[in-house]
Symmetry: C2
Subunit: 426 residues, 2 copies
């Protein structure tokens, strides 16, 4: 075991020295910006220095391959992302890439060559901050995004993705040539900060992710009757904001009911029209983010929310419309890998728990093509997407050791059921 | 009884032909605009044609005096306003001015000169639309507004009141000279559309206003904890919007409890921060408009709302701040005049009710200086401040007849307690 914490900390500092300070506090390293490009070039240098074969695909994902002892075996891949939200923290995504490179460097230090090839992956544009779409890199690689859709995509400032790509050194016209490298993976591992409070609050060192929740996002538009706040007696009112309030509390109640099925629901906004102090609200629009790792429970909760709204209609006069925004499927991660990670955590004496992930990760997109697993390390107070995001180096090093061990176990296995002919990567 | 409905309808059409059509549907005649000025000049012509002595004061209120048979008696005054909200209706304010001029013209037709002088009043800038302050004209006349405050006042487009005045032909520097003409009134009457549903829904023709409600306006700022919508389990949340929802329903509950004391309460807006679909709301700000004609009940309701918030704190973790916006005192109108109007309504065979006014009116400001009363005519479906605002001409004529009779009775009375030496108007 030769995890080099000095090397790891040095790379952590180097990565986080690259941030767009014009945004103020914390880390701002939006995808496909100049800061992202500078870091991409720095990483390519580090990966090449580690004698890895580096490729960048048509969406900007970076792949760095270390050859294995045997030919014809699928790779064991691992990685995360380096782009950030605006005013984000130093750990989200970064920790997974740091750990991945340290695993490679440490294997070099140990003089170990695995049976299977290894592949370090840095996904492009994981955060939805710039384009309102998350995980552009892993979605494009796994053919979940059409070029036509990307051609009309604009960032929050209104700049076209194709113009952005040109400046960054990519060409959107080439996107159809992108290869789904996940088809050539035996397994994929992502180490990530939890971004939630469970591990820190329970003094645990490792979360072994069982499943990744996916959001069903929708709006509820409520139409009541606007009226004069002074002249309309209480019994004549159809106040859309009072209806919205009942619905918001119903959404919370339903999510709590299904909490043991890892359901969470959030009304992130409520926009009132006309929204002035002396007019009874005539309209309200609630935005709902409903998630679970269990699709059936999420669907049950959604139906129950609709029933609650219809119950509210028995005592209040209003109409409503549900506007679907997006719906994605949760990912159940690989049971054998969950067991492997748990076993290795026990061997390392790390206090761990098997837990769902409420946040989405690139691993979701990879999970349809190979066995996947995720390792969480604690986030202090559960804070993330915030300059005060923090994970201790002790926790990062524990996670890196664990990642190394499970990668080693997976990459030295060539059981019949693991062995397949490589489809395109020689 | 010689109310001339043709003359009344003709003036109604003439007044409502003056509207700023660039705003779209309905009537838009904002105070101190060019449209307001055109109508002011038209009205001055009509008032002069009716042999009235017209004066315009330093805030733009118009006064038209008809001399009485006896000197040294205080005047009987009556009127309303002609400015409108944006996309308002044809009746709000207009009906009171129409009726007032018709009373004068009709007395001329009848050859009647009253003992007391009469004074028709058209108040300037009753609506709060342009400057976020209502009743500028009656407040300035009764010395409730400082010149210093008005000197820094801007309209919703950011234009200074002093520049607006210059274009309109007024001079803010002269405001200190304004006379409180209400000191010289024996009584003041305002005919107005109800702007609420009571009369129309109960098939009544006249509302005799007992008291005018006044608003206590405040904001409730709620501070919870923002968090990731996916990674924060339900039991770890301090969702400011869920708290806001409980408070909004509590405000409604309290107002319903005090409904028989004419309390109404409206949460007109709820602004959520950060207000995005994937973040648990960390802050919410509710705007509350709490009104009653009964100050004690309004204060009780306010205290009960605060108690409800503190009850919510027993089961939810948040802090809050109440920000006072404005508080005005309700006006109780004159009991003798309420009795007089009721009696005259009975004499005319008009179905009437004594009722509070939920909306504010210029009469509130006058009521501190002389006896005041208000007559309401029905608003179809209670709709006002809307292009579909409607009151039938039958109802307007009923109201005008009633106004004429109560003005006549008041102006021919010179009982000792009514008789006082005129303070400044010769």
């Amino acid at each position: 075991m030769s995890i080099n914490s000095k090397r790891l900390k040095s790379l952590f500092k180097e990565i986080n020295s690259i941030t767009d300070t014009t945004f103020g506090a914390g880390i701002t390293r939006l995808a496909y910006t100049n800061h992202d490009k500078i870091l991409k070039e720095l990483m390519i240098k580090h990966l090449s220095d580690a004698n890895l074969k580096v490729e960048v695909d048509e969406i900007g994902n970076i792949f760095a391959r270390r050859y294995g002892r045997e030919s014809g075996l699928k790779a064991v891949a691992f990685g995360s992302h380096l782009d950030s939200v605006i005013n984000g923290g130093e750990y989200d995504g970064v920790v997974g890439v740091l750990a991945a490179l340290e695993v490679i460097n440490s294997l070099d230090d140990d003089g170990i060559i695995t049976k299977r090839p290894l592949e370090l992956v840095i996904f492009a544009c994981e955060e939805s901050t710039r384009f309102n779409i998350s995980m552009l890199g892993s979605k494009a690689m796994t053919h979940k995004l059409d070029r036509q859709k990307l051609e009309v995509l604009k960032d929050f400032r209104g700049e076209n993705l194709s113009d952005i790509f040109q400046k960054y050194g990519l060409n959107l016209a080439n996107l159809d040539k992108i290869k789904n490298r996940a088809l050539d993976y035996d397994s994929f591992f992502e180490l990530h900060v939890e971004q939630g409070p469970l591990l820190h609050s329970q003094n645990l060192q490792i979360g072994v992710v069982s499943a990744i929740a996916a959001p069903h996002r929708f709006g509820i538009k409520i139409i009541g009757t606007a009226g004069h706040s002074g002249t309309t007696a209480m019994q004549y009112r159809n106040d859309a904001l009072c209806v919205a309030s009942e619905i918001i509390l119903a959404v919370e109640r339903v999510a709590k009911k299904y909490a043991d099925k890892s359901v969470v629901a959030t009304c992130g906004n409520c926009v009132v029209k006309p929204g002035v102090i002396n007019v009874i609200p005539g309209e309200a629009m609630i935005l709902v983010d409903l998630r679970s790792t269990d699709l059936e429970s999420r669907n049950l909760a959604f139906n129950e929310i609709k029933n609650e709204i219809e119950n509210i209609q028995k005592s209040r006069n209003f109409s409503y419309k549900i506007k679907q925004i997006s719906t994605e499927n949760p990912s159940v991660l690989d049971k054998d890998l969950i067991e492997l990670i748990s076993q290795e955590a026990r061997n390392l004496g790390l206090k761990h728990v098997i837990m769902p992930s409420g946040a989405g990760h690139d691993t979701m997109n990879i999970s349809e093509f190979c066995k996947t697993a995720m390792i969480f390390v604690p986030s202090r107070n559960g804070i993330s997407h915030n300059p005060s995001e923090f994970t201790s180096f002790d926790d990062i090093i524990n996670g890196t050791k664990l990642l190394k061990n499970v990668v080693l176990k997976s990459a030295n296995s060539s059981k019949g059921d693991f062995y397949e002919k490589s489809t395109f990567i020689k």
